[in-house]
Symmetry: C3
Subunit: 312 residues, 3 copies
Amino acid sequence: MKHLLSIDDLSAADITDLLDLTDHMVEIGQRPIPKVPALRGKNVVSLFFEDSTRTRTSFDTAAKRLSADTLNFAVSSSSVNKGESLRDTIETITAMGVDAFVVRHRSSGVPQMLTAWTTASVINAGDGWHQHPTQALLDCYTIRTGLNRRDGFDGLTVAVVGDVKHSRVARSDVDAFAKLGARVILVAPPTLLPTHVETWPVEVSHDLDSVLGELDVLYLLRVQRERMDDGLLPSLREYSTCYGLTAARAGALPGHALVMHPGPMNRGVEMVVDPGELPGSVILHQVANGVAVRMAVLFRLLGAGTDLKGHA
Amino acid sequence: MKHLLSIDDLSAADITDLLDLTDHMVEIGQRPIPKVPALRGKNVVSLFFEDSTRTRTSFDTAAKRLSADTLNFAVSSSSVNKGESLRDTIETITAMGVDAFVVRHRSSGVPQMLTAWTTASVINAGDGWHQHPTQALLDCYTIRTGLNRRDGFDGLTVAVVGDVKHSRVARSDVDAFAKLGARVILVAPPTLLPTHVETWPVEVSHDLDSVLGELDVLYLLRVQRERMDDGLLPSLREYSTCYGLTAARAGALPGHALVMHPGPMNRGVEMVVDPGELPGSVILHQVANGVAVRMAVLFRLLGAGTDLKGHA
Amino acid sequence: MKHLLSIDDLSAADITDLLDLTDHMVEIGQRPIPKVPALRGKNVVSLFFEDSTRTRTSFDTAAKRLSADTLNFAVSSSSVNKGESLRDTIETITAMGVDAFVVRHRSSGVPQMLTAWTTASVINAGDGWHQHPTQALLDCYTIRTGLNRRDGFDGLTVAVVGDVKHSRVARSDVDAFAKLGARVILVAPPTLLPTHVETWPVEVSHDLDSVLGELDVLYLLRVQRERMDDGLLPSLREYSTCYGLTAARAGALPGHALVMHPGPMNRGVEMVVDPGELPGSVILHQVANGVAVRMAVLFRLLGAGTDLKGHA
């Protein structure tokens, strides 16, 4: 495994293997000194063309726990803005000695494109509407631990609710959940469903209330306010009325069901109830697991030839 | 001691204890390799809603000398600006594994508020006009070493000069100096004195020249230029004439008196003379002591169960 | 050697000594863990008044490979912008404990000025049109390894092509190449030649084609687009026609000749051919060597009393 670009590139066994490795990383995070020398001397460069303090911080924390050096390449003040081609920038940073790029870009396919220009590993931290594979892995890990399902997701029903059309999180999650055996229901108004949804391994519903009772996992997507400007959403209030998680809807979920959200939440829109008062909310577990999953990914890509203690 | 929010929360004995610990930190800073493993694996996050390169750099240097990892949470590009609530942001960063937040905010009370939302320690690095406790500690340490007063400040006279009303430095310093036994004189025009000054443990003067001869410490506050727009200051020139430290005024101080300023200085306004030519100026000692005091605070909050060598 | 301000301050022997040390740093960079403890506990502060992600990243990587702590002093949000004098800012950062400043400024002479205000070492990372000494050192190292010339550059012919007048790279490179014994030809239109070029240790040509056949090294400078606004360049197309490296010109170079550029390149202007297809292009070697040369400079300035393993 040289890069992590898309859940497409992973088999169910690959995913399970990364989740097993994540167990070790969680254990490391619980030690008094939550740090191992595994990736000492490795250089991990964040290259975020779209701001995301949350995701960048998570990768940064993961890299530091493995003793890698991290470098935040400030795109806004870089030569990319002096007319240098992206290719020249990537080749230049590579020549300085980089082991992995963590890339976010608003265009789908940019992380893939980078792999042609660098000898370093490339990790897709979100590209356009396309993929956000570490989000899917941390979501799988959260379901696996939250519902005690080390053996896969056969028999689980997961609803992914909201703006599926413009969501890389949804694309990655649906792929991963389905690969592990879950039944996935997309719940969204027709304007926010992807074209060719019939080719996805999912069922579709426009009625959240009718599916709540069958769910093991309710996964709420973030509503992008700019979708209203596009005319795809009549109003946040109407969205909230039809698709928001209210106390009444939370009460209609089975008692064991998990409530998940990739963050940042729009309280009062897709999240009407206070998730802190939902016993099934694992939203902060997702965040915590994010660090451990990213440690697993970094170690799998860069740790060849060393064990977690940094021994050759 | 879990948080450091205000000098109010500290007794004279607590302050003295932190200053004693600072002695060790000063000694570490003088070693060829000024670094100890005490806080290895601890994660200190700076969360500055107001820019302050100076204070942030000081905390960052302190954390690194104790081998903690540091992370600068860029508020401007974070989800706080995507409509996420501050509470959700704090809970999210906490879930990633943070041991201490170092917080600056323009509203009084924000650091206190944060303590309800995180299991991490919170250090107030300045909140509105309220408090800046590490500044007060470093100022106490500078007086204690500069005047050789390990036993407290009984019998010392300290003037705090300038815009006391809008100054968190003044509030913190006055509390701390008074707790350690000093006599404190506020020197300011009536418009820049706090309301209810009669409840403060201080004397008040409007005439700097009349008190100079009795001072052991002259503490100049920074003049905020925006106070003139508020109509609280007629002009910088008039301020300077009445309250600025000129060579003549410096000459009227007792020979042993210290001159202090929290920085950054307005040369030509509150600081007319070149402090580099005043034998009593300890302004750069304040800066150097700031790193050591912040090491002491970080170690006191996060070092439970380890010694300075990082042994359990 | 306390500071590195200008190639002027170095003799040919000093340069050779730094290049010899760079050999060790290259070897360290090729290890599985490319990191040595030599500068543990040292604090290197970047102070970039002009943005340069490329140069800053190179110094940062160099410092981390030597285990120094690095701190990026954000000029834009610092007290320099609150009216604090540069001198007070430098004295303040120095008081926090800094071992070296890496400075870039658009005015010539600022790094020199800083040396009066700090006990730390100062490394000039580019000042105005004046100097960029580490660029010259990495260029020398690239020629020395690319042409196998450990003994100096006697008998080599180097052309420096483009906007010499406004280029600190050209000033530094010409000095260094000439000191090591090379014959240097400046190739530029008269408007882009420095005044008093007759005092430089160079020959001058306005005709790139006439010199290509004699070159061991073709060094292309970056064209600054703002020169056209100044009326010094008629158009980028005309510049490209006369001075750009086309495939035809590349074919007219001797087979062993090196093609160099300090980056970032303007493809289609000074670099018309794709350098990835030129066997003689060592542009990415320059970047890689930049990290090693900066390690050598940092170690020479800060490593007194330790070997590369960090032993006293």
